[in-house]
Symmetry: C2
Subunit: 457 residues, 2 copies
């Protein structure tokens, strides 16, 4: 009789695990069932800002593989099925079927192997008025559809939007609403946007945002939300006064959605993510986890981290799908690489910033340079700022940050490869990188930054 | 009394060595003199196609630092001075001053330390008619100015240009002339353009060139040039007939300009380049060399190579300037990274291709994938082809090739960093690269290619 692999969560991580397992094991040996509490599977949550911006026309465009497509490939996908409890000793799940049009019913589903891919939950601050209409959290495709519908329906009125939080999600949502023609204000508690950057680089991001015509209020804590008589949000309350708002987007960040696992007895780390080893196995035999719900390993800080990002989720899902079917695969850990775009501006970072390097116990030096994305004489060259952080004693490259325009952000990749390989800044400055006038000055900006850091050692 | 450092050659390598030495040593300790046979210094030869294309408006735009600017910084630059002989035992140079407006005169110039930066010479085939008017070699800024003037002067006539050679220089010159409105034919002896790529990738380049409306004749050897009664070129003779031409550009490649060094007794390697160690010292005490005239070390094939490229020239010049003034610097060698652009198409390569891997004794596997530069749902995504070559036994990444459109070529850098660090394709496929929908699919194309190669091991 076939063993049964149950996947909890239909996001990229879960469905990637399911698809890889299905491909590797014959159907008469392994049954693969996936429970997703919403109506969609395998969608790109990172694409939601572009759906709201109408850069992506339809919600279906964000779906890499629909439930029907998964079923056609032999994965028994149950949408609108929420797993509410896991019994590890009895090897069974309690599932509530919330299929539309019928009364919810509770099911018991057995499993032999379990993959937990419950994703992340947006942080929803416990503030007065947070439940007003028009205060949107953005995590699921349904959230994105709702926000987009709101913007569509009010597109003929002058709309004022407030985005709470100036991190990646906040900036991308601010861009989306700005593109849609709303007057946008970002409210950020910290003194700078993008707290994953150092203050000097964050300051450059702040300037870029403001030049786009987006209002940015840093060092400003949100104290609550005001609503009108119909319960619709009308303002965001801060210590410096109330900011009028017809629409609010919460972009404060996400936390691992690990409650189900924790309640079942699967260990959760201090990041809030489910603990996993490099095989993406939890400490419980036969229980695996992947995606935004897990805690993984930072190769530079040597600390556990929980980073919600589709690229990790996909890699981890593939690792689980391989291992759960008797293969051998490991997830290599993360180094915190991230890229984002706000209209014309591009931002990239990898490894540790100065604050993180200090916290991880590295005595470090840092160098920042301004250069050009192309040969100075080639049209379309634009300024690019590159910062590198290196360990003082060894010269080891610990991290890097980039801000620029077109063609700037993905230059972080070569620095990410260098951080991954523990190169020194001296060695990095010697790298044989692609050079031609349309692509780079004769000294690539990343090499110049590394050389400057090497000179400080 | 000050020692005297003489630099032969005013290109990027020589002047970079001179400038760094000048900066590091006080003037009363070291005199720095540089002899350049042409009128310009520190110009970007790699920018010449863009000058011809009128993408760069003026020749001066290509000059990073003029003779006057060098002099203002304490480097005694002598333009229009050709070094014709080096006497290593007497430590002196024979120099011919060809300053315009006066009769040439011969000078004897002493030196304590010598830097040879004589660059490269375009290969000029010994074929009938090669000296006809309108047959242009492209190496110096003066060459570029002459070709551009030719195109300018004939811009109202329907001009037919033939570019001999389908490598980097040939393609870039073909693009330039195509942009200027000439009807362009590329004649290439090999079965494919871009012999630094494998045939499958070369075939993609061939298709791209032809889609641009540039005629490409591969497998076609040039046998000579026909001229009219005025001695002006009228056609390029091949075995398949004569191709009409009002203008011919020789883009066959360059060879190290090492005759002066060889005649003086400085050892030249089998590549034709001056032999150097990692300090860019020649085997002769107190004689250094840098730039397109040298032979350097390929980190993957472990073989000496001569690669004419501004990025190496600048790095090497800096190394010489440091070492000649008592510092310690080494040039890390090369891995053959190169990028180029032909109108909308971008090409990148690094490390060894399949043929080179075989020649270097590596048993290898290769994987080619087609992917997209952005998330499939994000506007502006375009196809990108990535090929990786890996050692069969170890999985070590030996090289990579990329063809695509905007944003494709510089993705070679992350692969270059991986080749440099001797990563395996398995490790590479785990790399934490920048991901966001405007920049990459959730699996970066380079990761997909590496994973496919890993699956072949």
């Amino acid at each position: 009789m076939a063993r049964r692999l149950a996947v909890v969560g239909g996001d990229a991580a879960g469905m990637s695990a399911a698809a890889v397992a299905r491909r590797r094991a014959p159907a008469d040996r392994l049954e693969v069932v996936a429970f997703e509490r919403g109506p969609f599977t395998s969608y790109a949550a990172c694409g939601l800002p572009y759906l709201v911006a109408d850069v992506v026309p339809a919600p279906e465009d964000l779906v890499a593989r629909s439930p029907e497509e998964h079923r056609a490939r032999g994965v028994d996908v149950r949408t609108d099925h929420e797993v509410v409890a896991v019994d590890l000793s009895a090897r069974r799940l309690t599932v509530v079927d919330r299929s539309p049009g019928v009364a919810p019913r509770e099911l018991v589903e057995p499993f032999d192997e379990l993959v937990i891919a419950t994703g992340a939950t947006p942080i929803r601050p416990d503030l007065p008025g947070v439940d007003a209409h028009g205060v949107h959290g953005i995590q699921t495709l349904s959230d994105g559809i709702a926000l987009r519908r709101h913007v569509d329906e009010h597109r003929h009125a002058a709309q004022r939007a407030v985005v709470v939080g100036g991190g990646y999600i906040g900036l991308e949502m601010a861009e989306a609403l700005h593109i849609r023609g709303l007057a946008v204000t970002i409210v950020e508690m910290a003194p700078q946007p993008m707290s994953t950057l150092d203050p000097d680089m964050g300051e450059l991001v702040a300037g870029a945002i403001r030049r786009l015509g987006i209002e940015l209020r840093t060092g400003t804590a949100v104290e609550g939300f005001e609503a009108d008589g119909d319960g619709h949000v009308r303002g965001v309350v801060t210590a410096e006064g109330t900011i009028p708002a017809d629409l609010v987007v919460l972009g404060i960040g996400v936390r691992p959605n690990s409650a189900l696992a924790r309640d079942a007895g699967v260990p959760v780390g201090r990041t809030g993510g489910i603990r996993t080893d490099r095989r993406m196995a939890t400490p419980v035999e036969g229980v695996w986890a992947a995606g935004d719900c897990v805690e993984t390993f930072h190769r530079v800080s040597r600390q556990p981290v929980a980073i919600a990002l589709g690229t990790h989720a996909n890699k981890q899902g593939r690792v689980v799908g391989t291992n759960v079917t008797g293969g051998r695969a490991t997830f290599g850990g993360v180094i915190g690489t991230a890229v984002t775009k706000v209209c014309d501006y591009e931002i990239g970072r990898t490894g540790l910033n100065e604050r993180e390097a200090g916290a991880a116990g590295f005595e470090h030096v840092a160098a920042t340079i301004e250069a050009s994305t192309r040969a100075h004489y080639y049209p379309g060259a634009s300024p690019i700022h590159v910062k590198v952080v290196a360990e003082r004693r060894s010269g080891r490259l610990l991290g890097a940050q980039i801000i620029g325009r077109e063609g700037a952000a993905k230059r972080i990749d070569v620095l990410a490869a260098a951080v991954w390989n523990e190169m020194t800044v001296e060695d990095f400055s010697q790298l044989d990188l692609g050079y031609a006038p349309p692509f780079s000055p004769v000294w690539d900006p990343t090499l110049v930054a590394a050389r400057k850091a090497a000179d400080l050692l």
